[in-house]
């Protein structure tokens, strides 16, 4: 018998040994089903002989399938966040090569309001902002981000948003979350930011009526301005088809180099290079309880936040250099 033959046989035996746990799993699964167990329960029992990682994965899937998971009152599912962690990690490290600075400015406990620039109809900037805090912060926490209402009309996306900490952009929600001492991220540009054309990238739009400042003043939450560079190149909006947008109930219908020409592939964001900078918090506690009614103060603070973000955007654009390389 030649050496190659022996090798071959060894390899086959090795493969069989490798597959044994899987076959055992299927056998036990079948036995469980025959004994009248539900699929999740049978799968969980059958997983006993599998190697550690696979066993845990099957058991977790079986448990979730049977409803054994928690969502908090706002719909955030921590286990789900952990499950999608590798995907976000890939986006963060490989796809967008995010560099984050100043994350210490995010308070590790108590209420705070993060205000960032915004672009693109899918809230990737919100998820990356959230992920940056979980990855880089010494005491990570889940920020809740206020998402453009329209995203909550969409199937699947609305559920995913809610499970990773997105809530409907309603002042009531922001107010209540801050009262509960949560970390809240807002995009004060709102729909104007999401719909701005490519040539106006990184030029901050008007900050609405300054509602976010009013809420911060009322709840006495410090405002942390955040500059996100990179998010405004992922869906370069070259044109708009408002008629189609109205038909779909969307605020606008973007035309990008890939969307809608490539169909669902057009929803894949471009791999621009990102920088996220958290700026020094703007203290709110010095103002009295009635400060929120002071229109001029609200506008002044809103303008200050806007200028801070704008300036940091320019700085980071220079630091980043080329947009995609």
């Amino acid at each position: 018998m030649s050496a190659a033959r022996v090798d071959e046989r060894e390899r086959i035996r090795f493969d069989a040994a490798d597959a044994a746990p899987a076959i055992g799993f299927l056998r036990r699964l079948r036995e469980g089903l025959d004994a009248g167990l539900d699929l999740p329960e049978a799968a969980a029992r059958g997983a006993a002989g599998l190697p550690g990682g696979a066993r845990d994965a099957v058991r977790r899937a079986a448990r979730r399938r049977a409803g054994g998971y928690d969502e908090d009152d706002w719909g955030l599912d921590e286990e789900f966040v952990e499950l999608v962690f590798p995907f976000f990690e890939f986006l963060y490290d490989r796809w967008w090569r995010v560099e984050t600075s100043g994350v210490v400015h995010v308070p590790s406990h108590g209420r705070a309001l993060l205000a960032a620039n915004h672009a693109g109809i899918l809230p990737w900037d919100g998820t990356m902002l959230s992920f940056a805090i979980q990855r880089e912060h010494p005491l990570p926490r889940y920020p809740r981000f206020l998402v453009l209402n329209w995203a909550f009309d969409l199937p699947v996306i609305s559920v995913a948003m809610r499970k990773v900490g997105g809530v409907v952009a309603s002042p009531y929600n922001a107010f209540q979350l801050l009262e509960e001492d949560e970390l809240v991220a807002v995009f004060p540009e709102g729909v104007k930011g999401a719909g701005k054309p490519f040539r106006e990238r990184y030029r901050l739009q008007r900050f609405g009526r300054g509602g976010f400042v009013e809420i911060a003043l009322r709840t006495r939450a410090p405002i942390v301005p955040v500059a996100i560079v990179g998010s405004e190149e992922i869906y370069p909006k070259l044109g708009d088809a408002p008629a189609v947008g109205r038909l779909l109930g969307a605020p606008y219908f973007p035309l990008t180099p890939t969307f809608p020409w490539l169909g669902p592939l057009g929803a894949v964001p471009l791999p621009s290079k990102w920088r996220i900078e958290f700026c020094e918090p703007i203290p709110i506690a010095d103002y009295g309880p009635n400060a929120a009614d002071d229109r001029s103060l609200v506008f002044e603070l809103s303008e200050r936040v806007r200028e801070t973000i704008q300036q940091k955007l320019y700085e980071n654009l220079v630091k980043r250099g080329s947009a995609f390389l």
Binding site: A66, G67, E71, D73, L154, P155, V156, V168, S170, Q176
Partner: protein
């Protein structure tokens, strides 16, 4: 001080009967009357039953002589069912409330009216705040008939309480009830052999356990507060999670076809989902219960998740056989 005198409408419903039984055993209440055309589901000892239809003007003659100080309006129908067409439901809800108010106008003894209304008045909306507070009723347009009816009823009682500053109207806005003694939309839904859902949607739902539903009524009778109060179990549960806990197979349907598919099911007599409930299955709704706890003084014993679990436990855990089997058994 003499004991209190209470009239309960809709005493033939589960909650109406349970409330009557509870109050007649309480020494604080010397007289309890129940108005309904149906027989109560529980045996009542001293409750005086008034057999009259709430839609009929005759109640304006029957109620004043009872000299009650408190009226509990518990006859608001939440869903059309066997024997109750949508039209009859509208009549009972709107005309019935008007007749009851007309009767209250004639009875000078009335000091407080407690209404078991519905949180359906908020609607179910994708852009809704995560927790509705009592003042947030007019954020969205009215979309279903039931919602408009509830809003109309709320209006009547508001007007009444403006005109009679001496009487306190408490509008309890109930989230859908869940519990093993009750037959509600949600218990019916969870008993379906296959549960239809909207593909790609997983709304946050909120319920009230039947135990807490009764406690809230009792607390509001004891301690009437002016205006609206949400009645719900704290917290929410995702629809998917609830259906999984119930061990039910689901039938996810793409949204544009949902009405068509459930419509076929309805024609075959398999299921009957109201418009409000259908919207709830897509967008969900949750309310803030601070006012119930702090002002009415009723602290719900069950959270929403516990209420669902308790109901499922009472059903014998996972019921794998469809309910239809029960009908076949002798």
């Amino acid at each position: 001080m003499a004991g209190r005198r209470v009239l309960i409408t809709g005493v033939g419903s589960y909650l109406g009967g349970a409330l009557a039984r509870r109050l007649e055993r309480d020494p604080e209440f010397e007289y309890v009357a129940g108005l309904d055309t149906r027989r109560p589901q529980v045996s009542l000892e001293s409750t005086e039953l008034i057999d009259a239809d709430i839609r009929n003007a005759v109640i304006a003659r029957l109620i004043p002589p009872a000299e009650v100080d408190t009226v509990v309006h518990n006859q608001i129908v939440r869903r059309p069912g066997p024997g109750i067409s949508p039209q009859a439901m509208h009549d009972i809800n709107v005309i019935g409330s008007l007749q009851l108010l007309a009767a209250c106008e004639k009875a000078d003894s009335v000091r407080s009216i407690v209404i078991r209304g519905s949180a359906g008045v908020y609607g179910a909306e994708p852009h809704a705040p995560q927790f509705f507070r009592e003042e947030m009723t007019r954020l969205f347009p009215m979309r279903t008939r039931f919602q408009r009816d509830v809003a109309e009823i709320e209006n009547y009682f508001e007007t009444y309480s403006r005109r009679h500053p001496g009487a306190v109207c408490t509008m309890l806005r109930y989230q859908p009830g869940i519990g093993s003694s009750q037959d509600t939309q949600i218990t019916r839904y969870l008993s379906l052999p296959v549960v239809p859902t909207y593909l790609g949607f997983d709304p946050r739902l909120q319920f009230v356990h039947e135990h807490d539903a009764l406690e809230a009524l009792v607390a509001a009778v004891r301690n009437p507060v002016r205006g609206a109060v949400n009645v719900a179990a704290p917290g929410t549960i995702g629809l998917t999670r609830m259906v999984r806990l119930a061990g039910r197979p689901t039938l996810p349907i793409v949204p544009p076809l949902f009405d068509g598919v459930t419509g076929v099911g309805k024609r075959l007599g398999l299921l009957d989902l109201s418009d409000d409930f259908t919207r709830l299955l897509r967008y969900g709704r949750a309310t803030d219960t601070t006012r119930l706890v702090e002002e009415v003084g009723c602290r719900p014993r069950f959270t929403t998740v516990e209420a669902v679990r308790d109901y499922l436990r009472a059903q014998g855990g996972r019921r794998l056989l469809p309910v239809l089997r029960h009908a076949v058994a002798p």
